[in-house]
Symmetry: C2
Subunit: 211 residues, 2 copies
DNA sequence: GGGCGATGTGAACCGTGATTCACTCCTTGC
DNA sequence: GCAAGGAGTGAATCACGGTTCACATCGCCC
């Protein structure tokens, strides 16, 4: 490789970098961030530990990038399913819950890593913005539902948090790494149950008393 | 000290053991489990690192005991406030939410340690039973509310999980170690908001549609 | 008062895994 | 061919905190 970066070297370098990211992502999807040690990542690429460090400042940065990439993908899928395409807020909130849960139950290990796995402060910070994305999505939908007099919610942000909290709590039991694989109908029941719970809390069709 | 344990030695030993537990608890209440290193615990008792190990098998066991003690105390307070003392289910569920949240917002650091702080598998296991206690409490109340035709809930356990999830999610923003101290009225609003959300989801007075 | 075992000490040890760096290996420009 | 650097290597190093253990200390019992 030459003295000044050429198109080829640049591409090679990018490929290599990308290889590390893919390897790390695969490891996370299998065993969580805990399993994505620098040695394992390098090994998976038949590269040396040291070479990882010529592409990334630190393991934390590498994993943060993996997190953003994986989490961003998930959020995009949900955002797409929830896009304001003429459907009403109730349908869109249902899709939010369904897609989010469905994805989590599909890639359980990855979902666990993204949502719950204990990790260092850097990952934790990424997780914060990740969760916030979903809450923001929910908030927007609820706001729309409010405008359409379809939902009732004195505090929109709180309501969105509550929905996400309820969903998370329902999911954590299923995607914890040492919990048994849930059967499809168990999954279905859980998701629909949560959806129903949230709708009962939000629907205007009901004349809820507060205390 | 004698060849056979006498009343005095036994008491001394118990006191010392207790001292370590108190020290550890104080450290957890200040900086979470992370801060409760063996050295810090010993230091706080003006004892040596090694002596800790003549009272506890391992740091994990010590911290597990701290967890159980602290968590047990919290659960007891809630259980007491929620005891079936002639009050209706709505009131009792409200108390569950109020006391749980109130306690968490009072001892924020400890609540964070008990509910959210990333920690080793042993603590994580304790946390599981701790959370389950609350869910069980909620489940019982909701069941009572169901019997009194005051609540509606197709799946009681799911409903209880959802309530705890909603409360947790609302709390995590306030008790995260680096978040600013919330003002009393902010707390009040958050708690009442969650309470209202949950009641809207559960109250029979409303004729909720599901999808 | 002397010895024995309970008790206390804390420096050394260990395991884990990230990070570094002196070195080798290439490719390229001349 | 060959020198200059960039890229790759992986053993050594570091950081961290839990755990051990050889030794010191103490106070009761005979």
């Amino acid at each position: 490789m030459p003295y000044r970066p050429t198109a080829l070297t640049r591409k090679n370098a990018e490929d290599k970098r990308d290889g590390f990211l893919r390897a790390a992502r695969a490891l996370v999807a299998t065993g969580g961030f805990r399993a994505a040690t620098v040695a394992a990542i390098a090994g998976r690429c038949q590269a040396s530990v040291g070479s990882v460090y010529s592409y990334f400042d630190s393991r934390d940065r590498l994993l943060a990038e993996v997190f953003r990439s994986a989490a961003g993908h998930e959020v995009d899928l949900v955002r797409q399913a929830v896009a304001d395409s003429g459907r009403d807020a109730r349908h869109r909130l249902g899709e939010l819950i369904r897609i989010f849960s469905g994805r989590a139950l599909h890639g359980r290990r990855m979902a666990w890593a993204l949502l719950f796995e204990p990790a260092g402060p850097v990952i934790e910070a990424e997780r914060l913005v990740y969760r916030r994305c979903y809450t923001d999505l929910g908030e927007q939908i609820i706001r729309d539902g409010l405008a359409a007099r379809m939902f009732v919610a004195p505090d929109v942000r709180l309501a969105s948090s509550a929905v996400m909290g309820a969903v998370s709590e329902a999911l954590v039991g299923w995607i914890r790494p040492d919990s048994p694989e849930p059967s499809p109908e168990e999954q279905e029941n859980a998701i629909e149950g949560i959806r129903a719970f949230c709708f009962r809390a939000l629907d205007v069709s009901v004349a809820g008393g507060t205390s």
